[in-house]
Amino acid sequence: MTKSVKSNAAKQKQQQQEQHNGEVPPFNYSKLLDPDASWDKDQLGDVLHWIRQGAGLLCGLLFGSIPVVGALWIVIFLVLSSAIVYGYYAIILKVDEEDFGGHAALLQEGLFASFTLFLLAWILVYSLAHF
């Protein structure tokens, strides 16, 4: 148990050193759920962007199918998608947001595109399914 903790810490130190040397840590899907993995700013930004797009598309399809009406659901979507993104980087990945530009920088990643995607999906499904 102690050996594995030590080897993890050594691995993390080596990755951080590589980052200091200018090398970007390679991306693999296993690090998406690994709180010990080291993240490059661009890689993390991209992952958060796609999570937001997925949430936007899913919410749009769901809200259009039920259907739900009213501008309140736009606010609900914004809060929900931000909570998902926050939950991912703060609770699952446990990254220090100061290393990546603060909460605002991480939360605004892909926000506008996901908002328009959500509206598009919601409007299209609502119009096609119910009119």
Binding site: K41, D42, G45, D46, H49, Q53, F63, G64, P67, V68, V69, G70, A71, W73, I74, F112, A113, T116, L117, L119, L120, W122, I123, L124, Y126, S127, H130, F131
Partner: protein, 135 residues
């Protein structure tokens, strides 16, 4: 009186500084060339989009192409209710749907194919910032 080692260090520093200046000026030139070629392709894309928008406008003028599941604010209504008769604010015009498609699909496609501009590079290119290093 400077020792030999101090003189050598000074010479090395000057050489490094010259190298940095050379690399920076080469970077500036490359950035300028990149901006110029991006500007040319951007102009072609803009013309194509303009023609497509004009064509769609002609095809769907005055028609409601979708139903909005919410009442948009007055500012948004100017676009979403553009060219549509009647008072129903939930009637959606082609222009609004075109805008939504344009922003969402183009942004994500650029990101997916790797053509999105790097973060913080919005101001670089045609109008480079003045060099903060002044000697």
């Amino acid at each position: 009186m400077k020792t030999v080692s101090e003189t050598t260090t000074t010479v090395k520093k000057t050489k490094t500084k010259k190298k940095i200046d050379r690399v920076e000026s080469s970077l500036k030139e490359s950035t300028r060339d990149l901006s110029l070629s991006k500007f040319k392709s951007g102009a072609v894309v803009a013309v194509v989009l303009f023609v497509v928008f004009g064509l769609l406008n002609t095809l769907f003028e005055g028609k409601s192409v979708a139903k909005l599941p919410f009442h948009p604010i007055t500012l948004v209504q100017k676009m979403s209710h553009r060219g549509i008769s009647g008072d129903d604010a939930t009637d959606c015009s082609m222009a609004f749907l075109y805008l939504l498609c344009s922003v969402s699909i183009r942004t994500n496609l650029q990101k997916f194919l790797g053509f999105s501009p790097p973060r913080g590079a919005a101001n670089a290119g045609l109008f480079p910032m003045p060099d903060p290093k002044t000697n």
